[in-house]
Amino acid sequence: MRRVSTWLLLLSLTFGSGFSPAMAKEKARITDVTLVIDKGGVGISFSVQHCFSPKIEETIQSGVPVTVFFSVRLSQTKRLWRDRRLASLRFARRIHYDNLKKVYEVFLEDTSPAVVFEDFSEASESLASVDNVRLIPRRPLTEQATYYVSLKAELDPVRLPFRLESVLFFVWSGRRETDWFVQRFRVGSFVLPKKEETQ
């Protein structure tokens, strides 16, 4: 029997073959998912494709800070019972265009200083790429069980200027989110994902 703790599974999976280019252009989705699995937990890297719509991009360019929330969950599959959530993580990243200095500031963590970019594509790529987020379950993973990670990115609604949200209650405020991306796996092996699922 192989030692599972030493197994490293690098998965680079790109989805989107079932989507038309136009849809892919419009819809934000999780891509380039890489899992590093061992008994101690799961290290996840991924990026969000088409994270910002043209409208959001325009909003960012106008100087409005935009926050993206990332949700990462680790669950165990149960056959006759509800799946058990083992660990979850939700974190935010913010991008802001400083129109005085003409630079893009990306806040990857709440406390850390902003990473400054002069190019928007670099800034957005930096924001949309999540590198090695580690989920530590409450109990160690076993080889017998089937697990899955769920990933989702959602854009925090943009607040309207001049408190217009109080007046323009139903005005579109840039809410955008990906579907839940689900990747099933076992310790020592992996199961191919069923594209994107809604959870």
């Binding site: 129109n99 005085l100 200095k101 217009l164 323009l168 809410r175």
Partner: protein
């Protein structure tokens, strides 16, 4: 306990209303819940605001939506109802349609004018908010701020490069010359107005640092390593670095060896300090521009939202106007409908119907007036009913009196005929009908000239003239008239009628039939005469006859010459005395007519016996007897009836000259229960003037008649409760009709 149909109908209506209310409430709650769920999950709502504010906003919005929907529903319902009412031509629907249409039209025009004006104003205002001038000025402000940053960075680089040259030229990087380095840095910092000037070695060690006293923070944070490394790479770098109460614009230039510029000895950092206040001002400029550009992105949406609000307000105004139209129309038409219903009720006689209204306007006044009118009408009707009852009582009394008078008039034996002032017959009682043998139905209402024949008209005219001429209260006269071959003797009292003021109202004729009375009186008188004559004459007749016979027997033989004369004279005396005796016997019989002794008899048998007797005796006369069928048995005195027949036959034979016909007929009228016997001949007939006296004693149209035959017949018939009349026979002759009542 049983319910009335109206109560049941009200209960059904109430329960249906309650059910509808529950349905509406349930439906509204469902819509409200659905709207909440839907809106809560809208991307625009989800996570944008706090839960409390979301609930507040959603509640307000949904309340408005519900109210709008409810109003829309009610208005559509009322409109549909109005259309159906109009089709069914329900009272008030036309007026309601007019009012609603007027309100709707007026509100539509005004609301849409307002709407379009407001749309124009909003569009104009929004366009002004996002005008080129505003944008340019904001961009200008931002560019000023950006230039400020850019210039600081640029100047900082220049100063850093210059100072780096001096440091290199004066070889101030040596540790032993550090004091000189500090002096230079301080001098130049002060000269260039810099906040901080620092010198870093190639190992990124800070060799010297001078600071303006306005720069906060102690110690001053070091320059970021990556920036230093970049600069040590030979690049001039400018970076901002935040401080506690401001920001540094760091400009770094490499310090190159004088002889060999490729060798970098260190880095000189010249930093401008931007104080917090200045940063805040520039931040405001930046934020204003951000807000502006952000808002500009929603320019169309903002405009559309305001237009949506205006549209909602417009719709609200229209709905309200329609609703007000319905309300006002209801306020007018409902009382009108109630008035119409009330009018129907009043027309049907229900004066207790009361319309309740809370309206104080003209409609209310009208309703109150109607109620007052109904009340007055009820009072009047009650009064009229009371008076009608009184009047009815009076009428009944009058009617009873009239009836009584009529009954009295009808029952009295005296005939009464009243004429109005024009001479038309107003009343005629039964006795008058009977006496005059007239039909009151035909007579009443006709003028007396129209009724009376010429033979009577003159008489009546004379009477009327006498009344008018004499001006007496009463004219009394005994007249004898013949009506249908019947002689009547009447005592007539003619009284003029005048009202209390003396105006002519016509006259009344009261007459009594004296015919029978006079006849009876005459009969009694004649009987007395007959009895006395018979008594006085009969007594000497027998001695006269006996004496004449004795003279004839004794002295007939003594006369030779005059024996024949003597014999003839005595014979004549005896014969005439016998004749006188017979006549006296007749008188005596008439005077002492025995009382009838009726026994059940068949009239046909009596008649037949007499007919057979006379048929044999008078061969030259044709006797024809037609016996009536089903003739009842009558109580008759056979001898007296036979005598009646003999007398009638004798009269008929006497009236026939040479041969002729005598027809006898009996008949029975079941309806009148009357048996009739008629004896008719085709003889000479009886003159009209003789008919009235035909049944009087000693009245005879024959020379040899005693005038007692028909008087005896009349007596016998009267004793049998019958009646005898005389008529002309057609084509000639006389016809006697006897009517005898049947039994029972």
């Amino acid at each position: 306990m049983t319910q009335t149909p109206r109560r049941r109908s009200e209960d059904r209506h109430g329960s249906r209303k309650r059910r509808n209310e529950i349905l509406i409430i349930g439906f509204t709650a469902l819509i409200l819940a659905g709207l909440f769920v839907f809106e809560w999950h809208l991307p625009q709502v989800k996570g944008k605001l706090t839960t409390g504010r979301n609930i507040f906003y959603l509640s307000l919005i949904n309340l408005n939506v519900i109210l709008l929907l409810l109003m829309l529903f009610l208005i559509i319902r009322n409109l549909v109802k109005l259309v159906f009412e109009r089709k069914r031509k329900i009272l008030g629907s036309k007026l309601r349609t007019k009012l609603v249409t007027a309100f709707l039209g007026f509100s539509l025009v005004t609301a849409f004018v307002l709407f379009f004006v407001a749309v124009g104003l909003i569009t104009s205002a929004v366009e002004k908010w996002f005008s080129i001038q505003v944008e340019k000025s904001l961009e200008g402000s931002l560019e000023v701020a950006q230039t400020y940053y850019r210039d600081f960075a640029k100047n900082g680089i220049n100063h850093a490069v210059r100072m780096a040259g001096w440091v290199s030229e004066q070889d101030l990087m040596e540790p032993s010359r550090n004091d000189l380095l500090i002096q230079l840095l301080e001098k130049k910092r002060s000269e260039y107005g810099l906040g901080i000037v620092e010198v870093f070695s190639a190992d990124m060690e800070r060799l010297g640092c001078v600071t303006d006293k306005e720069v906060p923070g102690n110690p001053i944070p070091a320059a970021p390593i990556e920036v230093l490394q970049e600069c040590l790479g030979g690049k001039e770098v400018s970076k901002t670095q935040p401080l506690d109460r401001g920001e540094l614009i760091r400009s770094l230039a490499p310090i190159r060896e004088t002889k060999n510029p490729e060798v970098i000895l260190g880095v000189l950092s010249a930093s401008y300090f931007l104080p917090e206040k200045l940063m805040a001002k520039m931040g405001k400029i930046s934020q204003a521009y951000v807000d502006y550009t952000h808002a500009k992105m929603y320019k169309g949406t903002i405009k559309m939202n305001y237009l949506l609000y205006m549209l909602m307000v417009t719709l609200l105004i229209i709905f309200l106007a329609t609703w007000v139209g319905f309300y006002l129309a209801k306020g007018i038409t409902v009382p009108i409908q109630e008035l119409a219903e009330a009018t129907d009720k009043v027309a049907q006689g229900d004066l207790d119907f009361h319309i309740s209204t809370e309206s104080r306007d003209e409609i209310g006044t009208l309703v109150e007036a109607f109620n007052r009118m109904t009340h007055d009408l009820k009072v009047s009707t009650t009064e009229v009913e009371r008076k009608t009852l009184d009047l009815e009582g009076t009428n009944i009394e009058l009617f009873q009196r009239k009836k009584y008078m009529e009954i009295v008039l009808q029952k009295i034996a005296t005939g009464v005929i009243s004429l109005d002032r024009d001479g038309r017959v107003s009343t005629m009682n039964k006795s008058a009908e009977k006496i005059l043998d007239a039909n009151s139905e035909w007579v009443v209402g006709r003028h007396y000239r129209e009724i009376l024949g010429p033979e009577h008209l003159g008489m009546v005219k004379d009477l009327v003239k006498e009344v008018r001429d004499t001006r007496d209260e009463t004219v009394e006269k005994q007249i004898t008239i013949t009506i249908r071959d019947r002689a009547l003797t009447l005592l007539v009292h003619l009284n003029p009628l005048r009202d209390e003021e003396g105006h002519n109202m016509g006259m009344v004729a009261v007459f009594e039939d004296l015919t029978q009375l006079l006849k009876a009186q005459r009969m009694a008188a004649w009987r007395e005469v007959a009895r006395r004559i018979a008594h006085e004459i009969k007594n000497p007749l027998t001695p006269i006859q006996l004496s004449a016979e004795r003279l004839r027997r004794r002295y007939r033989d003594r006369f030779t010459d005059d024996a024949d004369v003597f014999d003839e004279c005595t014979k004549t005396i005896v014969r005439e005395a016998g004749g006188l005796k017979n006549m006296v016997n007749e008188f005596s019989n008439f005077a002492s007519m025995p009382a009838a002794n009726p026994v059940p008899s068949d009239l046909n048998d009596i008649v037949r016996e007499t007919v057979v007797l006379y048929q044999e005796a008078h061969k030259d006369i044709q006797f024809d007897f037609q016996s009536g069928m089903d003739l009842p048995i009558l109580d008759l005195d056979r001898d007296q009836m036979r005598r009646v027949m003999i007398n009638l036959f004798e009269n008929a034979i006497a009236a026939i000259d040479n041969g002729g016909d005598i027809r006898v007929q009996t008949d029975y009228d079941k309806e009148l229960s009357m048996v009739s016997l008629s004896v008719s001949d085709n003889g000479r007939g009886i003159p009209e003037e003789a008919k009235t006296r035909l049944f009087e004693p000693y009245f005879s149209t024959k020379k040899a008649g005693t005038g007692l035959g028909l008087a005896i017949v009349n007596n016998i018939v009267a004793d049998h409760s019958g009646y005898i009349r005389v008529r002309d026979n057609v084509p000639r002759g006389t016809r006697f009709i006897i009517e005898l009542p049947a039994k029972g």
